[in-house]
């Protein structure tokens, strides 16, 4: 099957998912208890004033009409206005936050991918030795730790005891994230823990499997250097499952972002979503969840594609995993 065809098909199903998902997000948030007009005007507002505002914002229209209007505006690039921060357009706050979160996710990615692949391979090569047991146990332990717990351990060590890094990751007013890159380090490390567990364990087991296969044994028996066999022959084949695991766990990574950003007060979209939920800011919740869904779905799609490119067997079976 042709790669472009697979890409088109995946894109189609992605769009369908997004349409249904956006409708679900919209319905879910709209049925939430509490009247937006009442929230804007406060509890002391008169019934007439609330009614007038409802009418003015079109809140009295049917759900379908409001959904249509919302989607229409989004397609025009207008995400609406925040209710809590009165009159501030969501476009002016959200995108900067999305950028920060992507920097954080990218930093975590750059740390955990090489580390977990390296230690996974090391554990497999030293199968059933002390090195293997230590790496495997560390992976098992970190895999289960919620991000804020590993974050607390890191803060206690690096901020409270050693005082090397700040306890909170705030950007001073008037400065940008890039002039304060050190604040990314602890949050990024906290996310890394969980992913390290998953990926290193997967890498270890697929590497063990490959190292025990006949073609590796014959390569070693015919006298090829062991390092060459491990990196040129075995690693290539043993990487596939790890790539899937990395892709499948992007969801945890995004969930982890919300937790870690809340712990460190990092100005990303996760902490923005958290604030939106606490202040019952309906349009902002909708916008944040939509953006997270889009980024998450696209990253899942990219993993699928990468997998088909790397493993021709899947391509020929029609791109289905």
């Amino acid at each position: 099957m042709d790669l472009t065809l697979i890409a088109l098909r995946k894109l189609g199903s992605l769009l369908a998912t997004l349409v249904i998902m956006s409708a679900l997000i919209f319905i879910l948030v709209e049925i939430m208890p509490g009247d937006v007009a009442q929230i804007i005007l406060g509890q002391s507002a008169t019934q007439e004033a609330v009614e007038a505002l409802r009418e003015a914002r079109g809140l009295n229209d049917s759900l379908v009409v409001r959904y249509g209007r919302w989607i229409g505006n989004i397609l025009k690039g207008d995400l609406g206005e925040s209710v809590y921060m009165r009159g501030v357009s969501i476009n002016s706050i959200l995108w900067r936050r999305v950028g920060h979160s992507l920097v954080l996710a990218f930093a975590a990615f750059v740390i955990f991918v090489p580390l977990s692949l390296f230690f996974g391979v090391l554990a497999a090569v030293r199968e059933n030795t002390l090195t293997d047991s230590v790496i495997s146990f560390f992976g098992l332990a970190t895999m289960a730790l919620p991000e804020f717990v590993s974050g607390v351990f890191l803060i206690t060590l690096f901020s409270v005891k050693l005082k090397w890094l700040p306890i909170v990751s705030v950007i001073p007013i008037g400065e940008t994230l890039f002039s304060n890159l050190h604040i990314v380090l602890l949050p990024a490390l906290s996310i890394t823990f969980v992913m390290f567990g998953y990926v290193s364990r997967m890498q270890r087991s697929s590497m063990v499997h490959v190292l025990n296969s006949d073609y590796i044994r014959s390569a070693i028996l015919k006298g090829m250097p062991k390092g060459y066999v491990i990196f040129q022959h075995a690693l290539k084949n043993a990487l596939l499952p790890s790539i899937t695991i990395i892709g499948m766990n992007m969801g945890w990574l995004f969930g982890g972002l919300v937790v870690v950003e809340t712990l460190f007060g990092f100005p990303g979209m996760g902490s923005l979503l958290m604030t939106a939920i606490k202040t019952r800011d309906v349009p902002l919740i909708e916008a944040c969840v939509l953006i997270i869904t889009i980024i998450y779905s696209v990253s899942t799609m990219v993993t699928d594609m990468l997998y088909s490119i790397l493993d021709p067997r899947i391509r020929y079976q029609g791109g289905q995993l």
């Binding site: 289960a144 804020f148 979503l273």
Partner: protein
């Protein structure tokens, strides 16, 4: 059972894991016997007492509440919710996964489509938005919503194991006998798939702890005055430089429980895969 004990004897790590898990269960059950303090009692004159001082084993928090008592009582809610969640999400997963896999065709296609949509949003984000919107989480709502967020994972596993059994002879002979679909799914097939389903349920238990703790940390879990380990961490974060213990102990409680359950579930999965 004897095989279980045989495996356990060869695996000291699993013994430690199971021991820690049992210890937490005992602590949860006998909470009032273990601590003399209650989890709500505030002693304004005893704010941020250091561990071991003034008769407070783990110290106190900013409101002068005994941390040991709050951690001991906090084990009750997290264990209850996580246990119920792993049960309910496994049951829902089996129901959906079995139905989809058994009937196949359109039912299966519809199921896969629905799972794709549910999976388009990270489980933690989904639970936190829904719980945040509903407000006032209870054990019931927390269990239900986290279980729904877990359905794609549990249902896929169940569907997978059912597909492995479906074409076997005992299933076709049951069909020829004229048994109905429900009987074939749950009386014939289910007992043969118990192994992988138990493995999935124990793994789910660890995920549930992680999820429930994170939701508590985000403030959308069980509401005060119920003591919640995750919430204790974020409550005391502002005083981390003066009183690191107030943040560290609840974190250690979560870590010890979740790592113990991971070790346990890893062991269970090894036992069941070796058996086959």
């Amino acid at each position: 059972m004897s095989y279980f004990v045989f495996q356990l004897k060869r695996n000291p790590l699993a013994i430690i894991g199971i021991a820690i898990l049992l210890l937490w269960i005992i602590i949860a059950i006998f909470a009032p016997v273990i601590t003399q303090y209650t989890y709500t009692e505030m002693q304004p004159e005893k704010q941020l007492v250091a561990p071991g001082e003034a008769n407070h084993l783990l110290g106190t928090d900013e409101l002068g509440r005994d941390l040991f008592a709050r951690i001991v009582y906090g084990s009750r809610s997290i264990l209850t919710v996580a246990l119920l969640t792993s049960l309910l999400s496994t049951i829902l997963g089996v129901l959906f996964g079995f139905t989809a896999g058994y009937f196949g065709g359109r039912v299966d296609a519809l199921f896969l489509r629905a799972m794709d949509i549910l999976m388009a949003i990270p489980p933690l984000v989904l639970s936190m938005v829904v719980l945040g919107i509903l407000g006032d989480s209870s054990i019931g709502s927390l269990t239900l919503i986290v279980s729904i967020a877990f359905i794609p994972a549990t249902a896929r596993v169940s569907r997978g194991v059912l597909l492995g059994e479906k074409e076997l002879e005992y299933v076709s002979s049951a069909r020829l006998r004229g048994e109905n679909h429900l009987y074939i799914m749950f009386v014939e097939i289910l007992p043969n798939t118990v192994g992988p389903i138990i493995v999935e349920a124990t793994a789910r238990f660890a995920y549930s702890i992680m999820m429930v703790a994170s939701l508590g940390f985000l403030g959308v879990g069980l509401q005060p005055p119920t003591p919640d380990w995750g919430m204790m961490v974020i409550e005391n974060k502002p005083v981390i430089t003066e009183a690191p213990w107030a943040v560290l102990f609840p974190s250690l409680a979560i870590a010890s429980l979740v790592i113990a359950i991971s070790i346990f579930s890893d062991f269970i999965s090894k036992v069941f895969t070796h058996e086959q």
